[in-house]
């Protein structure tokens, strides 16, 4: 009888916690961490960035040649056109300069805002948890069994 008790004790010790461990493995760890799905295919993730496409460059057509019979008239017209074109080009240059200045100012403002935001995020990231305790203490808890 005593031997039976000893045997039962040994068998109990050998199986202690095994069935529970098996159940917890399946129901908590395997199910919780979704181990049926390989890492990288489960939650999270995101779609790949679409390739950028560059529109094809368009070729410019050469203007037709001037008529010899109306050379003078054409020369005058050409001079007037040149003057008008120069004026337009100057206006365009001034406009472009203004746009560039505006763009630069906007970029500087955006850069400053980004730098301020980054500094704020870095400051927040290094902020200790509210009411945190500075003294190091042992960690961890477990259900008190006995």
């Amino acid at each position: 009888m005593a031997k039976h008790r000893e045997l039962a004790t040994v068998m109990y010790a050998n199986t202690l916690g095994r069935s529970s461990a098996s159940k917890i493995w399946r129901t908590v760890v395997f199910a919780g961490a979704m181990l049926v799905t390989p890492i990288g295919m489960g939650c999270g993730g995101g779609g790949g960035k679409k390739a950028e496409t560059t529109p094809p460059a368009t070729e410019t057509q050469a203007p037709p040649a001037a008529d010899n019979a109306a050379a003078d008239e054409a020369a005058k017209k050409e001079a007037a056109d040149k003057e008008a074109a120069a004026k337009a080009a100057e206006e365009q240059r001034l406009l472009a300069e203004k746009e560039a200045a505006d763009k630069k100012a906007a970029e500087e403002l955006a850069a400053k805002e980004a730098a301020d935001k980054k500094a704020a995020e870095e400051a927040a990231a290094k902020k200790p948890r509210p009411r945190t305790q500075t003294k190091n203490r042992p960690t961890g808890r477990g259900f008190i069994l006995s």
Binding site: W25, G40, G142, F143
Partner: protein, 294 residues
Amino acid sequence: MSVDVLGGIDPQGRDDSYEPTSPWWLSGTPLEAEHHRLMRRRSVPIPWAASTADQLTAPERARLAATWMRRSEAEYLAVSTFSVLAIDLVAARAPADVLSLCLRAGIDEVRHAEMCVRMAKIYSGEQNLPPPGMSYLPDDPEAPKLHQALANTMLVSCVSETYATTVLSATRELTTDPTAQAVLTAIYSDEVMHARLGWSYMRHAIETGGQGVIDAAAAMLPRALRGVANVVEAERPVGDVTPAVRTHGLMTPAEERVIFSTCVREVLVPGFQALGIPIGSALEDYGDAWANAA
């Protein structure tokens, strides 16, 4: 994938036979009604009047009262553990379901503390309360918030709560007192979700955070295991764990060591390895030599 976690227990079910668990611990204000509404969400009814405590000897009752009181202290501290963990998860912008379950876990721990206080009263006849206190979780302002949230989730949920479910499951099998059995079952059914919360968040964090998260988890692992081992190795209340005491939900410290060792080898280590987290010397640290050292 459908998994029968609780063997027919409905974790969202309500207990129509609910009665205030430890009314001497309440505020005496109208808040009590809302508190009962929250506490009512319990997986199994507790047959408080069915306790067989009167069949025990005085030393056996004293032993059980001391252990259930210590359990109430641990469950009470766990309220603040999950509260602090929730702060870390918010700082890391964790998914909403992780946040809600973490905060609910804190409420569950209030329920557990109340149940353990009442169990202690059943054995001692005294209306005692757990001492005030706050649990500690590591805080490193230099570490990325995601890494800290993940590391503390591993400590609290993946290691501590997973061990708790393993040990509760094993203890329930030995417990025949109907009141103790129901209380352990109620706690177990909540702890399953507390533990699963951690494994799910760890999977999510690795998917989104990559190698840095894995490194943070690997660095926390020995600390987390040591934290639970400290609890297992801690000194116990005076008194023998007699066969009668065992039927009220107690195991010996030696048995606890074996269960923790088994949990490390067959649950925790395989889980971390499957997620690609290096396990270091966990198997050697908590192998047979440690298990049989008591």
